[in-house]
Symmetry: C2
Subunit: 338 residues, 2 copies
């Protein structure tokens, strides 16, 4: 079987071999249109960079670690699919580890020790690691962080603007005329920076309309699973001032759990209580009612993260750590009467 080579790809895409190499290796500054032409040619011809040879020459394993808290949270599984696809196009194999958010696990995997040395680079969605932990990292390979745990970190990171996304979700509910909008998913700062940002957006949307926030309508949850959403919704239904008329949940699993509680208790969604989630996982699109949600551009998050890692691995010196922002949209569906 003939193997596809760099020059076959160049010929098909109508560009130089050097340009193909730049694209495949993730070097910066290839025009978007050119990059797309090359990637199409790569896909059509089934080109795979000769990993083994390339890696042996460079003392590399060709492996990237993607470290996420929980794979059975579908957001991470869907993100993982995108990262695996992006990395494959660049000739990297992604292996995935879930840490359950245990700091020891996260440290062990990405910072020190035997396993860290096996990976050329790491993409980490941290749950438990602190800035201080990251400052003591002694593994050599580059690290790209997903999410916001970042302020003064020496690493590249990719995130969406959680504050404005949460504000958009809340404003959608307020614009429907709902007057008691609850929030499910708040967490204390030390373990839940993402949750904190979403609470800030929830409050901002109220303030922008001159409305005050009733703190008793914000329910904290230890995790972001269906079970916690179902329990939090049950508490809100028994609120001494009566139930809310809308609820913004900090992820789709919480929202799906909340909807189950509502339907079981005979509450109509969205007529009595409108529900909005966050993540746009497949389960929300097939639920009855379908789930209104914030949809982060997972493909863009994956592309930015892998591109950045490739740049650090293979490119010229890449300068200061970058903050890269992915986009999001509000997808209005049946659960808010869209």
């Amino acid at each position: 079987m003939a193997t596809t080579r760099l020059r076959d790809v160049a010929e098909r895409a109508g560009v130089s071999v050097r340009t193909v190499s730049n694209v495949v290796n993730g070097y910066a500054r290839v025009a978007e249109e050119t990059r797309r032409r090359v990637e199409e040619a790569v896909a059509e011809l089934g080109y795979h960079p000769n990993l083994l040879a390339r890696n042996l020459k460079r003392g590399r394993t060709g492996l990237i670690a993607l470290v996420v808290p929980e794979l059975d949270v579908p957001y991470f599984a869907e993100l993982a699919r995108s990262v695996v696809g992006e990395a494959r196009q660049r000739g990297y194999t992604v292996v995935i580890d879930q840490t359950d958010g245990e700091p020891d696990r996260e440290r062990e995997l990405i910072m020190h020790g035997a396993s860290a040395a096996l990976f050329d680079g790491v993409i980490l969605s941290p749950l438990a690691l602190s800035q201080a932990d990251l400052a003591h990292r002694d593994a050599a390979g580059p690290l790209v962080l997903l999410g916001e745990r970042i302020a003064a970190s020496p690493y590249d990171h990719v995130a969406i603007d959680n504050v404005s996304a949460a504000a958009a979700a809340t404003e959608h509910l307020l614009a429907l005329g709902r007057t008691r909008v609850a929030a499910i998913g708040d967490q204390p700062y030390d373990t839940g920076e993402t949750a904190q940002l979403r609470t800030r957006g929830y409050r901002m949307a109220h303030e922008a309309r001159g409305l005050s926030v009733d703190p008793s309508l914000t329910v904290a949850t230890p995790r972001f699973h269906r079970q916690e959403g179902a329990a939090a919704m049950a508490r809100l239904l028994d609120h001494p001032d009566g139930p809310p008329d809308a609820v913004f949940c900090y992820n789709d699993l919480l929202a799906l759990g909340a909807i189950r509680t509502l339907l079981t208790r005979g509450v109509r969604v969205p007529e009595d209580i409108a529900v909005v989630g966050f993540d746009d996982i497949e389960a929300g699109r097939y639920n009855t009612p379908t789930l209104t949600t914030i949809s982060p551009d997972k493909a863009m998050i994956a592309r930015l993260a892998v591109e950045r890692l490739a740049l650090r691995l293979d490119g010229p010196p890449a300068g200061e750590p970058a903050e890269l922002w992915a986009s999001y949209t509000l997808e209005v569906r049946e659960s808010s009467g869209g």
Copy 2:
């Protein structure tokens, strides 16, 4: 911070250091009760075998690869969580790769090349590899197969009895008095051995009651996602002889997609059409209606697979390849009127 050692675990469990070592290393023939005592002590004391030292001595990486077709199919994500947990107790780090069922990816990862050498062993849930492929594997480490693609393979494998499980799901629907039970998820033999076994069980349940099967009520689907289930259900609703009164779907995602189609079209579940799935993923337990399903014992599958791998890696010569069977139950919920 003092490190927990083997002898601390032995003391807590009231057994010898050698017994603890046998359990931690997965050697065979430790009484179930003893194993549980040791595992409890391991968990209580937070004991982690000194991976690095142990691996350096043995020329090992301490890494196990779990290779699955698709992580965004929740069954695999939930199974992955169990495998990671089981392996961690034995001091192994699991990295996960998804192949999208591409034969090239499966081959590359587990059979040959640079990446295969990084893993001490592999647990593979194959979608595309054939017996012939496996026969040509030249990587050194042990391999445990999940699922049924097995007949004459030289590897250990762990599975549930898909034929009897599918028969139980179908018999449940027939016992409710349903007379036109459809099946969604059949696949041709070369890519869908699991599907073939479930079709056999579906037919067996009919035969056991002296009923004939209407082949036009069996709908094949290329994959096992919600989208395919929704589309297949739409076709069945438009069946020339009228819709079925029950449907057995070969996984929960197909069933959840089918239910979405039914509710959108104003069909009542289970009153008009009862639905049963397969896998017992979390999404089915929070769906409205909740989903009746076959629940394979995922924890048992994970434990059997990791134990077997550990036995091959660390134990005395383990003899012939084993067929290990995990149990399953039928969980009756709202979608079949339970």
